[in-house]
């Protein structure tokens, strides 16, 4: 009997502020709004068994049992190979539509789930404690685009709570689990207020009358009208979407389909976050990891195919990452323990494709982990720049490019 008994929108940040709708409820024109989807693999994805250094004998020595994933792996140009379950993602990489970045992490790695995840979310390796005022990098990005963008600039897809990375200073960021969350509900029937309902006249009249009254009343009446328009616009936009691919069943498939719906509907939501959990494979890793990667592969492929079907793939980029990787050596339970640097994937967005960054050096380990060769903030910088957002402002400083869109 808690908050999740009903599907209300959940707001991050301190206070919901008003979102404008551009002139009279017109939607953002398609093609103009580039969108970023951050897909977080929660629990610490084992990077070394995802992007496998098949030619490195040290790998086999470090992982006598777990290195069996070498067979069936899909080769990449630099001597590494993708886990056998990632067949379709492999196709995207070799086709130049997805990029594998080796060794993404940050200095002085933290191996606590919560702290490392917070670090990625806040984009500050020195971050110590979350307070009420802490903001996340996507939240800050949402703050910068909130005035220009229509409707909802950022949203968390799936889940009840809005994660730290979307926590903003001023912009209200909802968590959406179903499309129906945004309807203007009728009190007498299931579903939204009808288009011919006389209740609409009440709201409209309120705005007309409010204009002549005092300032506060006018503000309230205007907000009401915009609220109704918001609901109508989103319902209409979402009704135009039909999935053009078969999403696999399960939570990830559903969430990615909802994300595609938001992207395709042209509603103006440009920053999305999704979480897919279960990667904390301390024991019996082989079957679990294979199953998770298979789900990921199928769902991502469907998402790309769906966007292709709606001719929206050009304006979307997807970042797939985890809060840390796992140790180079396997443990005694046929699993792996918390690590540090790990590969990340960037799909679509016209990024350069293929493999980026040096293959992790298993000869030089830092406390049992490969050393990070790319700071994750460089990746963020490239993504923000592609979105047309001031990266230095959002990240609180300059960072070198990770080379995702060339040098």
């Amino acid at each position: 009997m808690t908050l999740d008994r009903r599907s209300f929108l959940q707001f991050a940040g301190a206070v919901p502020l008003w979102w404008g709708l551009r002139g009279g409820g017109a939607l953002a024109p398609l093609g103009d709004d580039r969108t970023l989807l951050v897909l977080e693999l929660a629990g610490g994805n084992d990077g070394l068994n995802t992007v496998i250094p098949v030619d490195d004998e040290r790998y086999a020595r470090l992982r006598p049992k777990l290195s069996v994933v070498r067979s069936g792996a899909h080769r990449l140009v630099d001597g590494t190979a993708l886990h056998g379950a990632l067949a379709k993602v492999h196709g995207l990489v070799t086709g130049g539509r997805a990029t594998v970045l080796h060794g993404v992490g940050y200095p002085r790695p933290d191996r606590s789930h919560f702290r490392s995840r917070d670090i990625w979310h806040v984009a500050d390796p020195a971050h110590v404690r979350v307070t009420a005022a802490t903001t996340g990098w996507l939240g800050r990005a949402a703050d910068t685009i909130a005035r220009e963008s229509a409707g909802v600039p950022a949203a968390a897809v799936g889940g009840l709570e809005v994660p730290l990375l979307l926590k903003s200073e001023r912009t209200a960021v909802p968590s959406l689990r179903r499309v129906e969350d945004f309807q203007w509900l009728s009190a007498t029937a299931r579903g939204p207020v009808g288009s011919a309902s006389p209740t609409r006249a009440v709201v409209a009249a309120g705005e007309r009358a409010g204009g002549t009254g005092d300032d506060l009343r006018a503000f309230v009446a205007g907000t009401a009208s915009r609220g109704v328009a918001l609901a109508d616009d989103l319902s209409a936009a979402l009704a135009r979407y039909r999935p053009k691919a078969d999403y696999p069943g399960g939570q990830l498939g559903n969430d990615l389909r909802l994300a595609a719906q938001l992207v395709v509907s042209g509603f103006g939501t440009r920053l999305l976050h999704l979480s897919f959990g279960g990667f904390d494979t301390h024991a019996r890793q082989l079957p679990t990891h294979a199953g998770l990667l298979a789900q990921l592969d199928a769902a991502l492929a469907a998402f790309v195919a769906d966007l292709d079907g709606h001719a929206a793939a050009e304006r979307v980029v997807v970042l797939v990452h985890s809060e840390f990787g796992r140790r180079a050596a396997e443990n005694a339970s046929q699993g792996t323990d918390h690590g540090a640097a790990a590969p990340a994937f960037v799909l679509l967005g016209g990024a350069r494709g293929g493999v980026l960054g040096p293959v992790p050096d298993l000869g030089t380990l830092d406390d049992g982990d490969p050393i990070a060769t790319t700071d994750f903030r460089s990746v963020y910088r490239d993504l923000l720049t592609w979105l047309g957002i001031d990266a230095a402002r959002v990240l609180g400083g300059e960072h070198v490019s990770a080379g995702l869109w060339g040098s």
């Binding site: 009903r6 008003w18 209200a172 009190a187 907000t223 328009a229």
Partner: protein, 439 residues
């Protein structure tokens, strides 16, 4: 204009009518049913304010009903729901409104504390002492385990003073920025060393207390925490600070200088009695002036609880608390040390949608049962115009413009012979009017 706070008296052209009774209940409490409003109208303004404020408390009031049961659950959601239940049913209404005011004032959040028992006990302290003299409340709060842990005074000891508590005491609770110096903060921190929490209760650790000589606000002495309290409440700035806050809560979001001065004077003359100050304010010409009426945007609590009370109904407190949290006001978890900012910030197109949808869900029975059913309130209203008028009386104290009344009648007429549906639809539409968002 020193007669701002003189008691307002009704006159031929300016009666104590339903609108004024509604205004009194919305500001001093969380609204009220039509029958309660009519009772107040019949009783007259003086008796109405007495009823709303209750008798003057001479000693801390007894703890709220069912407090120990709620603590037994060990669950912050039930603590929150309990506060909602008290807001719906507790008397006098001013007590529960002030408990919530102090909760926002001393904004302590369970997100850090993770201690529902301590939060419930802190709120019970507000229930008990919130209307007494401010000195007494502040003394109780400086010994409150939840507040001490929230502001890290547990680590404040001799030789290693922690200034957080003292700073927030001055900046947020009593004086406001600019009315104290950094030196005052340092010295006050030393005064509060040893004010610790052990086993969930206040404990003065004498061995950790710095009892050396300090200089505070120009005076020297071997001061302790109680001396800080005595010194700070005596300052004029403290009176003005509180007066400003109370005016924002009860009158208008932007108080004027003369108003602050007048209320601060009343506060000081009454020996810093919160009860006396607020009852003067609630009885005053300022409170019933056009400036005060319809000047504030309803907070989520005002909106959610006010709607349920206006319909004379009860609904599941857990659901209502969840609705308030979804609208941005989760009791026991204020978003910052400054409590909840409100007014226009409460309203955005999306939060307006949520408020409208809350009313729709409530009336449709989707948030648990609403008893009595809304249609029962319309038993004597037959025609669409009567239904519209009745909704206007229930939700807006009858202040319904002709234009709006016609639109509401059209809403009722659209449901033909289905009287129950017409009643529900009209109530929902009335709640969509701009005036319904204003307190």
């Amino acid at each position: 204009m020193n007669d701002l706070l003189q008691p307002w008296e009704p006159s031929r052209g300016d009666r104590f009518d339903l609108a004024k009774a509604g205004h009194l209940l919305r500001r001093a409490g969380y609204g009220g049913s039509l029958s309660l409003r009519l009772d107040l109208v019949a009783a007259g303004v003086a008796a109405a304010v007495d009823r709303v404020a209750g008798p003057a408390p001479a000693a801390p009031l007894p703890p709220p009903e069912r407090l120990q049961d709620v603590i037994a659950f060990g669950d912050i959601a039930r603590v929150r729901a309990h506060r909602v239940w008290l807001a719906l049913h507790g008397e006098p209404v001013l007590r529960t409104r002030m408990s919530h005011f102090w909760h926002g004032h001393f904004a302590t959040s369970n997100q850090k504390l993770q201690d529902p028992r301590a939060m419930a006990l802190q709120l019970a302290t507000f229930d008990g002492a919130g209307l007494l003299r401010f000195d007494e409340l502040l003394a109780a709060m400086c010994r409150d385990p939840a507040l001490l842990r929230w502001l890290d005074n547990d680590g404040n000891k001799k030789g290693k003073p922690n200034e957080n508590f003292a700073r927030e005491l001055f900046e947020l609770f009593t004086l406001g920025r600019g009315h104290y110096s950094e030196a005052d903060v340092r010295e006050a921190a030393r005064c509060f060393t040893g004010w610790h929490v052990r086993d969930g209760a206040f404990r003065f650790a004498a061995n950790l207390h710095d009892d050396g000589e300090k200089e505070l606000f120009g005076a020297r002495g071997r001061f302790g925490g109680d001396d800080v309290i005595a010194a700070v409440v005596a300052r004029r700035e403290s009176a003005e600070f509180l007066a400003d806050r109370w005016l924002r809560c009860f009158v208008h979001p932007e108080p004027e200088r003369v108003e602050i001065d007048a209320l601060a004077a009343v506060y000081e003359r009454s020996q810093r009695s919160v009860y006396a100050t607020l009852t003067t304010l609630l009885r005053s010409r300022l409170f019933f002036s056009p400036r005060a009426r319809g000047a504030k945007v309803k907070s989520p609590a005002d909106f959610v609880l006010g709607t349920v009370r206006a319909l004379g109904a009860h609904a599941a407190p857990m659901e209502l608390a969840a609705a308030m949290a979804a609208l941005g006001e989760a009791w026991c978890e204020p978003p910052s040390v400054e409590g909840w900012h409100g007014e226009r910030a409460w309203l955005s197109p999306a939060s307006w949608l949520l408020r409208s949808n809350f009313v729709a869900d409530l009336l449709a029975g989707r948030t648990g049962k609403l008893q009595p059913a809304p249609a029962a309130l319309f038993a004597r209203s037959k025609t669409p115009a009567e239904i519209a008028n009745r909704a206007g009386v229930l939700l807006l104290d009858g202040a319904l413009a002709k234009n709006d009344a016609d639109h509401l009648a059209a809403v009722a007429a659209a449901h033909g012979a289905d009287h129950a549906a017409a009643a529900v639809a009209v109530l929902h539409a009335a709640a969509c009017l701009p005036d319904y968002q204003l307190a």
